[in-house]
Subunit: 236 residues, 2 copies
DNA sequence: TGTACATCAGTGAACGCGCGTTCACTGATGTAC
DNA sequence: TGTACATCAGTGAACGCGCGTTCACTGATGTAC
């Protein structure tokens, strides 16, 4: 009985996976706003109402795609990091940035789904917070390891005035939860670099560098090394 | 005759302006994807087909809104700059950044229209390039003035390896066109800071700082002063 | 100044389209005795 | 092992909706003589 019941469940998870795959294809081709249950059903040779056996609404399907996108990006970043020695902090940060950029260029609509303007009429549920954090943790990991290994030389930002107390409190509550041993200043720099990365990737992706910093690799490399120097990441 | 003809023309430009105003309202409320000719016509008490006397298609209306948005942002930045002495380079950069952020928070959908993910099915025509450049020129102006006044101290980035030759060539072709006297390195830093700014604003606007850097002002201030130090902008 | 004509803004109906979601149904798969 | 019943995936028609765009039209405004 258990084995047979399993068969039905297996069918269910398989169809669910196929729906997600088709939805991902639709998303990749037409973007989030163009993603429709009917189109997904069509691609699968099903009738649109059949999808409601698997997803209670279009929004739930969108949520699933968002979770997938964060996961896919985080996986890409983690895979890139895995190819670099854990002690090579500087290179580790750089390959993570490059992986994010490469992923974004390869999956522009998925990138737009998670870091672009929100889909109209859709409100991201709380479940998306944790997978979103996974991406940021990639970068946090690097600076935490570097900090633990005393591989954060006093970067140029070190000589600057102390952090505003309000900012320091916010940062401390982040470190308390995720990275107890990272100094607040380093965390602030990490957020700074992360913002810079996403800004650069968005501008490139949406065509704002066409005609000036185009192709964008040289500027991207320059910007990343600037960030890495700012944070003060060194090799060992 | 001329005066009477003017009357008709004046009516035309007035209605055109009203359509744009209504479209802007729609955009502000429902976002670009939710902007529909019919809704605009409805708000004006017109019949939807009447709009075709003024805009040949929805895309043309969208283009007009995009041009307006760039203009509105550039105006906000310019107004902010006007309140600061031309020699106060550092403050001038900072108020420009703050103006961009404030404008974005006040006009999220217009910001999304120009710096967010592209509207599906819409391809920005060439006319949008020049007004987009106006925004970037706000920042270029600051560093150009600062450079001309020898107010760019050797920032921390100065000790770094020289720019890649490909990047330098790209930057030179930008300076050739817009700011002959800005060193390439400074221009690169300007692009870096601009990307950082937009990344930060996008992340804040789309909720990625909720629960960590929230409220975002303290981090914003920190990030901006970091950038300003990086570029090496000083007061005089 | 008055009349015939041209221009043009706005109307209203219609086109064909695609969408999300509901609902009563069929028929196969699984379950209990 | 066989039979009566329950579950559940998938169907197909229908709902009400809003969209962009076209088109023949009316009637007011402007123009030429």
């Amino acid at each position: 009985m258990a084995a047979i019941r399993m068969a039905r469940e297996r069918a269910r998870t398989e169809v669910t996976a196929e729906i997600l795959r088709a939805a991902r294809d639709q998303l990749a081709e037409h973007g989030a706003a163009g993603l429709s249950l009917r189109a997904v059903a069509r691609e699968l040779g099903m009738v649109s109402s059949a999808l409601y056996r698997y997803f209670p609404s279009r929004d739930e399907l969108l949520t699933a795609l968002i979770l997938e996108a964060y996961g896919s990006l985080a996986d890409a970043g983690a895979a890139a990091q895995a190819r670099v020695g854990r002690a090579e902090h500087r290179r580790r940060w750089l390959v993570t940035c490059r992986a994010v950029r490469r992923w974004a260029l390869a999956h522009p609509h998925e990138y737009a789904l998670i870091y672009g303007s929100p889909v109209p009429g859709y409100l991201a549920p709380k479940e998306t917070i944790e997978p979103a954090a996974r991406v940021m943790l990639l970068f946090l990991d690097v600076v935490r390891d570097a900090g633990a290994a005393q591989a954060l030389i006093a970067g140029p930002a070190q000589g600057r005035p102390p952090l505003a107390s309000r900012l320091e409190a916010q940062l401390r509550s982040v470190t308390d939860e995720f990275a107890a041993d990272v100094p607040e200043l380093v965390l602030a720099q990490m957020f700074y670099g992360f913002s810079q990365l996403l800004g650069m990737v968005s501008l490139e992706l949406y065509g704002h560098f066409v005609g000036s910093l185009d192709p964008t690799e040289p500027f991207f490399d320059y910007a990343m090394s600037t960030t890495v120097d700012l944070i003060g990441l060194t090799a060992s």
